[in-house]
């Protein structure tokens, strides 16, 4: 019938790169500096809840266009780490940099500007339940970007087209499948032209047969050069696409390296051990 699972291959990858932001900087020196700096860096993030140490000096740095994958057992702190980066969970200590600019999370205005440039995809989708797919994508364009209803809807529609859901625009989240819901969430995040995407186990809440369509979106973004940090249990996906894997346990990154290094047969890494047990479960 309709091929909503397919993405238009015609979409140029350049569309994904927030070119305007850098181009706008007239000072070439500044532009050069921002190219040298990692797109996103989180340094020594620590977080305790009560007396429990959830994150213990976790750091990550993402070059532009890089896809890094965070894996590890549940309770390792992956989700907390991602949410500490954009301040949804305020970290106790540590620093976050976007293109070399340090973020002061105490400054609400600064934090909002940061979040507008760093999109987030949640495990349980978190689409706004009372809004149609179209309005889910359009609302931030109106409330944050100050776009008119007409402009925001046009932009939202093109984002929905990009994830193959233009024909679902008028439906509410409860009328969509899990996979479709998560794809709308991608459209919502992408409409803000993010420089970086944080993905918190984007496929973990999905039925197995719906995982593919969401991974396809991520693959498409990765090919387009989107900078992404993704917590996941999808090892085949990580192996194929990740530039680096961070293995977390008990709130610390205990191993990191390229998939080839960490997952080589007989490498004896914790990562390999964890993944082989994960494969057994699957």
């Amino acid at each position: 019938m309709h091929n909503e699972n397919q993405f238009q291959a015609t979409d140029s990858p350049a569309e994904l790169a927030p070119a305007e932001a850098t181009a706008a900087k007239s000072l070439s020196e500044e532009a050069a500096a921002s190219r040298r700096d990692p797109a996103l860096a989180a340094v020594n993030i620590s977080k305790s809840i009560g007396s429990r140490l959830i994150l213990d000096n976790v750091s990550v740095s993402l070059a532009r266009g890089e896809l890094k994958v965070v894996i590890g057992p549940s309770g390792a702190g992956k989700s907390t780490f991602l949410q500490c980066i954009n301040g949804l969970i305020p970290p106790d200590t540590g620093q976050v940099f976007l293109e070399g600019q340090s973020l002061n999370m105490r400054n609400k205005h600064e934090l909002r500007l940061f979040r507008q440039q760093v999109g987030m995809i949640f495990q349980d989708f978190n689409l706004f339940d009372h809004l149609t797919a179209l309005d889910n994508v359009a609302i931030a364009l109106r409330k944050v970007r100050g776009m008119s209803r007409q402009d925001s809807e046009a932009r939202a529609m093109s984002e929905l087209e990009r994830v193959g859901l233009a024909n679902r625009a008028r439906l509410y989240p409860a009328e969509l499948s899990g996979g479709q819901t998560q794809r709308v969430a991608f459209a919502r995040a992408l409409a803000m032209d993010p420089k970086v995407l944080l993905l918190d186990e984007p496929t973990s809440a999905l039925d197995p047969e719906l995982v593919g369509e969401v991974l396809e979106v991520i693959r498409y973004l990765a090919k387009g050069g989107m900078t992404m940090l993704m917590a996941t249990h999808q090892m085949d996906f990580a192996r194929a696409l990740a530039h680096e894997i961070l293995f977390m346990e008990h709130g610390r990154v205990i191993e990191s390296g390229s998939p080839a290094e960490l997952l080589a047969a007989g490498s004896g890494t914790r990562t390999l051990d964890f993944c082989s047990r994960l494969d057994l479960e699957l």
Binding site: Q83, N86, L88, R112, L113, F114, R115, Q116, G119, M120, F122, D124, N126, L127, F128, D129, H130, I139, A140, K143, V144, L171, Y172, P173, A174, E175, A185, R188, A189, M192
Partner: protein
């Protein structure tokens, strides 16, 4: 028997006039309760500690004290001596302040029933908290609150029967007056019961209709 029916028939325009007073008073009170109750609820869920303390004190005061006592305190202590407010106006305000306390708890429960991910997602997009609460959380919470709010409407309507004790000329005042002058206490009490029942019924049906009208498609049936 015929005489009773005739007397009631004769007095109906007078008593129905009282119904209008009752309806006006309850509507104003519900509106005051709504406009204060929503911010009180938001403050209690998202506010800083001092604000939360102030709000819970407010709620405790109005929930912990009989309505009649409040009506007396505010009317004889403040509204009449200081502002020469009429019994009806004072009643509207007191009922409104009381209702705000109860309504705030209805809305607080509804806000807390909305998954936290909703506000998180709004924040993650860079929305201000005020926008996230106003455009994401509250529209969902208000839908959830309608059944509880219907309850508050029906309780407030019946509580409003107390305002005749301040001298407001509402349904109950006129019923009481007719009952004493004609000495037909039973018949007029029955009439009062029927009137309050019908208003409650119509109001609840309307609210039920509203609930279904703004029901989110695909959600489990309201």
């Amino acid at each position: 028997m015929q005489e009773v029916i005739f007397t009631i028939y004769e007095s109906l325009p007078y008593i129905l006039g009282g119904c209008l007073v009752t309806l006006a008073c309850v509507s104003v009170a519900l509106l005051i309760g709504l406009t204060l109750g929503v911010p009180l609820a938001v403050g209690q869920v998202y506010g800083a500690a001092p604000l939360r303390f102030f709000i819970s004190t407010y709620v405790w005061f109005f929930r912990g004290c009989p309505l009649l006592v409040q009506l007396y305190i505010f009317f004889y202590g403040i509204f009449w001596p200081l502002f020469e407010l009429s019994a009806l106006a004072s009643s509207c305000i007191v009922l409104g302040l009381t209702s705000a306390a109860y309504q705030s708890q209805i809305f607080r429960g509804a806000i807390e029933a909305i998954p936290q991910g909703q506000l998180k997602a709004a924040r993650a997009l860079g929305l201000r908290d005020s926008n996230g609460i106003g455009f994401i959380v509250l529209p969902q919470a208000m839908r959830l609150a309608i059944p509880g709010w219907s309850n508050e409407f029906s309780i407030l309507l019946k509580d409003s029967a107390l305002i005749y004790l301040l001298g407001a000329s509402d349904t109950m005042a006129r019923i009481h007056q007719m009952a004493t002058t004609t000495n037909m206490h039973f018949a007029f009490s029955l009439l009062a019961g029927v009137i309050y029942f019908v208003i409650t019924l119509v109001g609840l049906k309307l609210l039920r209709g509203l609930e279904q009208k703004i029901h989110i498609p695909g959600y489990q049936k309201a």
